[in-house]
Symmetry: C2
Subunit: 332 residues, 2 copies
DNA sequence: CTGAAAGCGCTTACAG
DNA sequence: CTGAAAGCGCTTACAG
């Protein structure tokens, strides 16, 4: 910057003002401005972002925390956030929590250290108190997915997944006549599992159907857990006739295992997933599932985030409910 | 930091030295060290990363540039790089180029501005000159995928995809008796397409088989292009009996369209993909394809990157050839 | 409209 | 083993 100032015969202050798109409060003569810009171009000068950050300006970076970049469910969300950030000339750092509280806290720490201007997170363990702490220490703007986050200073987006689960199970019972329905879950401590399992349980109870303990198979979110879970279910003395999987990856794992065991889907065993990832349409039979709209969530949350970052919103809490939709295909 | 220094009754220099894991050249008395660490914990102090960066230390951040986070092919690579970075306590920023030179250059610019300590990139347009420029201006360590990058200061990993393509086509001809073979390509200007198409062309020529112009359908990398391309191919007066798709997404798109047209795979039309993304095993018929190992590429490149960042390698160029492997399944 | 100077929060010679 | 001081590259009151 010193070089540019010297070469253009102005002070550093002037170069800085020309470059920082300063709020027009401080005017620069057109001639000076052009001279500076020409010199900047000539010397191929790019202001150092860290110095800017240090001096108190924006950091021009946001963070995303998801469980695992390998799960397709997150991609539309991540991409939407990246695209909004790109338009604002922001960089995006991305971290995986692997559904552990430990890594969620490490993400918060790296946010505190750096810091960044905003984050979009999908927390599985972080509580309102954790977020409160984060805001107090950094002033970072936060958008979160999942309605277990109720902090008044945090924007959020959520699907009505509990209700959607309830309705899907009712559909299995009333439209398809199932009475023995099982559920493949991830860790039951996750709020998201509590909601989906709660919907399942409620529909079963209302229909007067019992759910034997071994009909709820908990584990992680993986393809492999889907395979193992359905095998154990089908080996029960009284196996279920339908299975509700807490996400599509589990459902697709189940589908693969069922095919190997030479059962027919949906005749012998019906399978319903959750999320409607692209792969749900590629498997055979095509997966009946409950669609969520992560792209829309990401987009809305990112727009809200930049409103906060740009100081256009410092009071209003945004809460976007993006309803789930039941998608009937071939597996149930 | 001032607060910590004051509270612990030492100078800022001392706090800094305790915290910066300084090369043991400068010793600190154990008592002082413990006192400082206790105060750090008590005040919950986290050093500001931007100030550290500015003062010349490492920036503790690397960048990844891929074409599009939504393509499954990149996930094992991204995840592997993230995991290595995580172990080194580094943050990772990720940008999409959408296969455009414009966005590839914008990524370079944001690297220059920030800067970061290293990048892993999958360039489709960037040349050795571009990278030379980037290194000159930032000293950033670079690892790249694809053997069109030959810069002596850039580590690289690559699959032998040209040869693998050649062999797959020979297999179609010799083991499966195909004579009319088409190819679905992305933009033919991409080095990766040149290599894969080159292998295809060579196998055909060596077998004395001609490739009508309309048998090479160029477009982008999308599912939709796969669908459109195979439709146009099957409507030709003399349609092909086998199709080689430049990646699995194209192949899966082709598979879907073929199913809608009620052709049988592989009896009526054989399909071969490239990459072996997880979805290749989920579609029916299961996709015959050429496996690449992006996870291994990412891991090796990231390890090499941190060797450079930590100054353990400032001369040796690493070049990892990760051979492709033909995976025979059901679609050909 | 422009410039001189202070300061963001650290690290690192330099001195003791 | 520890501290006082300079400086990384910017931005922003303050002064003119």
């Amino acid at each position: 910057m010193r070089d540019v100032a010297h070469e253009a015969n102005v002070s550093q202050s002037t170069v800085s003002r020309v470059l920082s798109h300063a709020p027009s409060s401080i005017p620069i003569s057109e001639a000076t401005k052009q001279r500076v810009l020409a010199t900047v171009k000539k010397l191929d000068y790019h202001p150092n972002q860290y110095a800017r950050s240090l001096r108190g300006q924006k950091n021009r970076m946001i963070g995303i925390m998801i469980a695992d970049i390998r799960n397709s469910f997150y991609h539309p969300l991540v991409r939407a956030v990246q695209d909004v950030a790109f338009q604002h000339h922001y960089d995006v750092m991305i971290a995986n929590s692997d559904h552990t509280r430990e890594k969620e806290l490490l993400f918060c720490e790296s946010i505190v250290r750096r810091p960044v201007d905003g984050v979009i997170i999908i927390p599985y363990h972080l509580t309102d108190e954790d977020l409160d702490d984060l805001i107090a220490r950094t002033g970072v703007a936060i958008g979160a997915i999942g309605n277990h986050i109720q902090h008044p200073g945090v924007d959020m987006a959520w699907g009505n997944d509990g209700l959607a689960s309830y309705r899907a199970i009712r559909w299995l019972i009333e439209q398809r006549g199932h009475r023995r329905i099982a559920m493949i879950c991830a860790n039951p401590d996750f709020p998201v599992i509590k909601r989906r399992h709660g919907g399942f349980q409620r529909a079963m109870e209302e229909a007067g159907l019992s759910v034997p303990e071994e009909y709820v198979v908990c584990g992680d979110w993986s393809f492999e857990h889907g395979q193992r879970a359905i095998r154990s279910l089908l080996q029960l003395p009284e196996p279920p006739t339908a299975v509700f999987a807490a996400n599509d990856t589990l459902a697709i794992g189940a589908l693969e295992a069922v095919e190997e065991m030479a059962y027919r889907v949906p005749e012998d065993i019906a399978i319903i997933g959750f999320d409607d990832i692209p792969e749900a349409q590629w498997v055979r039979p095509k997966l009946t599932t409950i669609a969520q709209y992560p792209g829309e969530m990401g987009q809305k949350l990112a727009d809200a985030l930049f409103e906060r970052i740009e100081g256009k919103n410092d009071s209003q809490r945004c809460a976007f409910e993006i309803p789930c939709r039941f998608v009937e295909r071939e597996s149930a």
